[in-house]
Symmetry: C2
Subunit: 216 residues, 2 copies
């Protein structure tokens, strides 16, 4: 924590949580803290944490107590969008998220902040490429639904109940890549009533994860 | 347009649309264009447009051919969120949006860009304060639904069909202001299955507008 912060309830709460979790708190000069912080506007508090655990993709596809419900990213590059999507996914009860090592934003500090805790709570699997991951998921019995504004089925009429499902969202602007689009079991579109041809990817993804969530 | 741009299909399309709409195109130096641009990364093209028309709040509450379906903002301050919400609202077929003059972001260039066209397509009414607007809407027969994580009704079980509706979304973090919360007909929450207590406001708003839209 930065020295000389104005007392505030949130700081007291952080101190108490740290004490309860046996996390040592050190006070350092404001400048030292800001040099080390990796987000903009660090607000005087910074934590050191272990690296995020990585989950095995096959394991996520096989599921455990609950049938697999995965969200996969095919080219989402805006950290705000990726963070908001992980947060929505957590709220909808996904069992894991799938990120390719390239063409998509990584879990940066900005993503972590936008995700509001979801980065630490959603199981994340990194895969070399998403097209291959789609094929692999299907081989493991997972039904793969790509979100695509040209999809032939309405998201709101998907025949999904409790089977293993992986939703795939594409890049801002360009949508799903061709290879991924070709390998999905079904392409679902969100029926729009206006004249703008698509939604923001974070809004579209929120609608999709909650649609699957409600049908379970 | 900036002089010396690399030829690209999108630039040809802009030129053609301009010609069809009888909009004169001028070529200026890159620096002159960037000085005048009001967004970051202007990409070499800039348009001058008339001010947005303002709609009368009472008129939006009375509706026309379609029953009123309004989205109101109570303290949304992030331009990305406001823009994305307007875009979702357009896609869900709202008949108008309501912005208070204070405590909420205004329609800035950043909002306009994030809205991807919705700012020009959704009827916007500015009101002095949102609490008074809620009361006025109710007096005009509009059913007012506030989105609130402590709401006692599930968004997915709202008894809404074709009646006039105004959805109200609150500020990032703080949610609805007390006065607005007290004046809504009903407070609806989004049932969450994870452990993070709320969604990003743009995700929550997208779910809400599409929920009403689907029931019409």
């Amino acid at each position: 924590m930065a020295e000389g912060l104005e007392p505030a309830p949130v700081l007291r709460e952080i101190n108490e949580l740290a004490k309860r979790g046996r996390v040592p708190v050190r006070y350092v000069g404001r400048r030292a803290l800001e040099t080390e912080a990796r987000t903009e506007g660090p607000q005087g508090v910074l934590a050191h944490a272990q690296a995020l655990p990585e989950w095995d993709f096959d394991e996520l596809c096989r599921g455990g107590a609950r049938p697999p419900f995965l969200l996969a990213f095919d080219g989402v590059t805006d950290p705000q969008n990726l963070g908001a999507l992980l947060r929505s996914a957590e709220g909808a009860g996904v069992t894991g998220a799938v990120l390719p090592r390239h063409r998509t934003a990584h879990i940066t500090p900005a993503v972590t902040k936008a995700a509001a805790g979801a980065v630490e709570r959603v199981r994340l699997a990194l895969v070399p490429g998403l097209a291959a991951a789609v094929s692999r998921a299907r081989a493991l019995g997972v039904w793969v639904v790509g979100l695509d504004e040209g999809g032939d089925q309405s998201l709101f009429e998907l025949a999904v109940a409790t089977e293993p499902v992986m939703l795939v969202v594409g890049a801002e602007g360009a949508g799903l890549s061709r290879l991924v689009r070709e390998r999905c079991d079904v392409l679902a579109r969100i029926p729009l009533k206006g004249s703008i041809p698509s939604l923001n990817v974070a809004a579209a993804g929120a609608l999709a994860v909650f649609e699957v969530s409600r049908r379970r």
